[in-house]
């Protein structure tokens, strides 16, 4: 992608589409967000770690849209799940009609536990994009990519080549590190369980193992961040672990939830409890999925 912006260990692309309706989560259900008449575009800044190409859901970008130096709109886009766009940050923005706009995307430091090279990437970066908004172009295309143009041809809008963007997918079960011990399903989501020897990278010791749970959407393998998960590991009827599975971003496991335990033996029973389903906003098609999520039990 020409003119991709990189700073502070992160890369950023700005993408947009026509305004979308979406749903916000709450404990008792969902809240529908209708398109307002003043909404011009659905704006989605995609920020990823340059080295691993992981899109970290814990870094909430802040958008500032200006035109000729005058403020037009500013907001922190919502973390969202969409079938075509996967996990992303997005919201409908209100522009002043056709014209050239400047969009600043700023990110701060992480807030989820990270391991490996990701732990060293502390963020604090900002990216500037310039684009020409044209209502008639927007009506014709589904998704437009905007990337900062280093060649200086301002206002060029290229049709997005999605293949150039990193994906928010997690690995297929057989590509996950460790010993994959099973898969459970809850609220349409798949939860793949794997056990890694040597938990030292995850805050444990070399003698301990790391029990990792990798939830994903059933068809697209999109990560499911911002859940409260807990687990109970029982052996012969008695509990050997009972605690939270902490959200963690690891270069190999990518976004997952896990805990260090002394060991995992064949025949152990693992119960995974979803204390809160993913608190990401939902695009159409995901508004009823991953909401009602009963606990799961697997024999490892």
């Amino acid at each position: 992608m020409p003119g991709m912006n990189e700073q502070g260990g992160y890369k950023c692309a700005l993408t947009y589409s026509f305004p979308h309706r979406f749903w916000l989560m709450k404990p008792s259900g969902i809240t529908k967000v209708d398109i307002q008449s003043a909404d011009s575009v659905h704006m989605m800044p995609i920020v990823w770690d340059a080295q691993t190409r992981i899109i970290p859901p814990d870094i909430n970008p802040q958008l500032t849209i200006t035109q000729d130096g005058e403020s037009v709109d500013q907001f922190a886009p919502w973390p969202m799940l969409s079938q075509p766009m996967g996990f992303h940050f997005g919201d409908n923005a209100q522009l002043n009609g056709n014209g050239t706009y400047t969009v600043d995307v700023s990110i701060g430091g992480p807030s989820t536990r990270r391991t490996g090279s990701l732990a060293e990437n502390q963020g604090d970066a900002s990216f500037t994009f310039e684009f020409e908004f044209n209502q008639s172009t927007l009506d014709e295309i589904s998704v437009t990519d905007l990337s900062e143009d280093k060649q200086g041809t301002k206002g060029a809008v290229d049709v997005m080549d999605m293949e150039m963007l990193p994906s928010s997918q997690v690995p297929k079960p057989d590509a996950l590190p460790g010993d994959v011990r099973g898969t459970a399903t809850s609220g349409d989501a798949k939860f793949v369980v794997t056990v890694l020897e040597d938990a030292s990278r995850f805050g444990g010791t070399q003698d301990q193992v790391y029990l990792a749970v990798s939830p994903r959407t059933p068809y697209n393998r999109i990560m499911l961040p911002m859940m409260s998960l807990s687990g109970t590991l029982t052996r012969g009827g008695s509990s050997v672990f009972d605690g939270i599975l902490q959200a963690t971003i690891d270069p190999e496991l990518r976004y997952h939830y896990g805990a260090t335990v002394s060991d995992v033996q064949s025949g152990d029973e693992l119960t995974i409890t979803v204390d809160s389903p993913p608190q990401t906003a939902r695009h159409e098609g995901y508004e009823t999925a991953f909401v009602d999520m009963p606990s799961m039990t697997l024999t490892l």
Partner: protein
């Protein structure tokens, strides 16, 4: 400078009906002196106070804060301090102006009080004028200065040293996103995020929250970590309560809304004994621990962080009255020691 200040003080009584005035000085001002501030004054330079903010750090020498229940009083006092008025409220003004000593580098205006946000909504971009409740004292639609949510004046007063009797002041300039707040979130979400999910779930809050009386009834909310895990959302008041000492807040808020620059904003002005008390309160509001351990995000469902962008931060010392005009970093005479049961 003292003459100029006394000029406006002689024109109005010292109260909300008249004029309430403070003068404060920044670390940048005190850096002009060879001596350091005494250890009894905790006045570090301003800094970012959340992992996701990148504010401009303010370094004016001094801040004059004028407040009144009557807007004309503030505007008149300002003109008098600039030397533009020979009489103020019928009282003759001195020839000396504050601007003989200072150059004005910034001016922030605003309002707080029932009905004012709705009245001023049209002056700022992106404010859903029809959604801000008619009687709300602040843009976000709820009362926030509950009596029991405020520190006492004693708790925020510097106790010893030459600046005893003074206080420290933090002023941040926050931009608000009221489109998400009013047009996307629903009432349940606003109540849960401002107060706590318990209040939203149990219909504790009527209208702007006047029915709550003198406190935001945070004791009824479950612990923050439990709410974060089980509901996936935590409230602003619920988190902030963690910064209390002996169940009492440690900062005294004097925040007010603004349409400066055509933007819906909040000038968050807080007084506390040392700047560390403010930093501790803000840290509690960040909810960093719950965002690590639960479905609550860095800003998403994390109180009102989603809707607030910190643009500027500044720290100041409000000296006692006897030292309010261009104080040295190490005043020669000790002001009177202050005794305070809460110290």
């Amino acid at each position: 400078m003292e003459t100029a200040l006394q000029g406006i003080e002689h024109a109005y009584e010292r109260s909300g009906k008249g004029l309430v005035l403070t003068v404060s000085y920044s670390p940048a001002y005190f850096d002009r002196f060879d001596e350091d501030l005494p250890e009894s004054v905790a006045l570090p330079a301003p800094k970012a106070l959340a992992p996701f903010e990148d504010p401009e750090l303010d370094t004016p020498d001094a801040v004059v804060h004028l407040a009144s229940n009557t807007a004309q009083v503030v505007l008149g006092a300002e003109e008098s301090l600039k030397g533009n008025k020979s009489t103020l409220n019928g009282v003759e003004q001195p020839d000396t102006a504050l601007t003989d000593v200072f150059e004005i580098v910034d001016r922030r205006t605003g309002f707080v009080g029932d009905g004012l946000p709705a009245e001023n909504a049209g002056d700022a971009e992106g404010v859903p004028a029809d959604k801000v409740p008619e009687d709300a004292p602040l843009f976000m639609g709820f009362k926030s200065g509950f009596k029991k949510n405020q520190a006492s004046e004693d708790r925020v007063t510097i106790q010893s040293g030459p600046f005893a009797g003074g206080t420290t002041q933090h002023i941040s300039k926050l931009q608000l996103n009221l489109n998400q707040w009013y047009n996307q979130d629903d009432r349940w979400q606003r109540e849960a995020k401002m107060f706590c999910p318990y209040h939203a779930e149990n219909d504790v809050i009527e209208g702007t929250g006047d029915n709550l009386g003198t406190s935001s009834k945070i004791d009824d909310c479950k612990p923050v970590d439990e709410t974060a895990r089980e509901m996936g959302v935590v409230g602003h008041s619920q988190k902030s309560a963690a910064a209390r000492e002996n169940d009492t807040p440690i900062i005294l808020r004097r925040d007010f809304n603004s349409t400066d620059g055509g933007q819906a904003g909040l000038h968050f002005l807080a007084l506390q004994r040392g700047i560390g008390d403010f930093e501790k309160t803000r840290k509690a509001m960040n909810g960093t621990d719950v965002s690590k351990q639960s479905a609550v995000g860095q800003r998403n469902n994390n109180g009102i962080l989603q809707y607030i962008r910190t643009e500027r931060r500044g720290n100041y010392l409000v000296p006692p009255r006897s030292l309010r005009a261009l104080p040295p970093a190490q005043p020669a005479t000790n002001a009177q020691e202050v005794t305070d049961a809460s110290s």
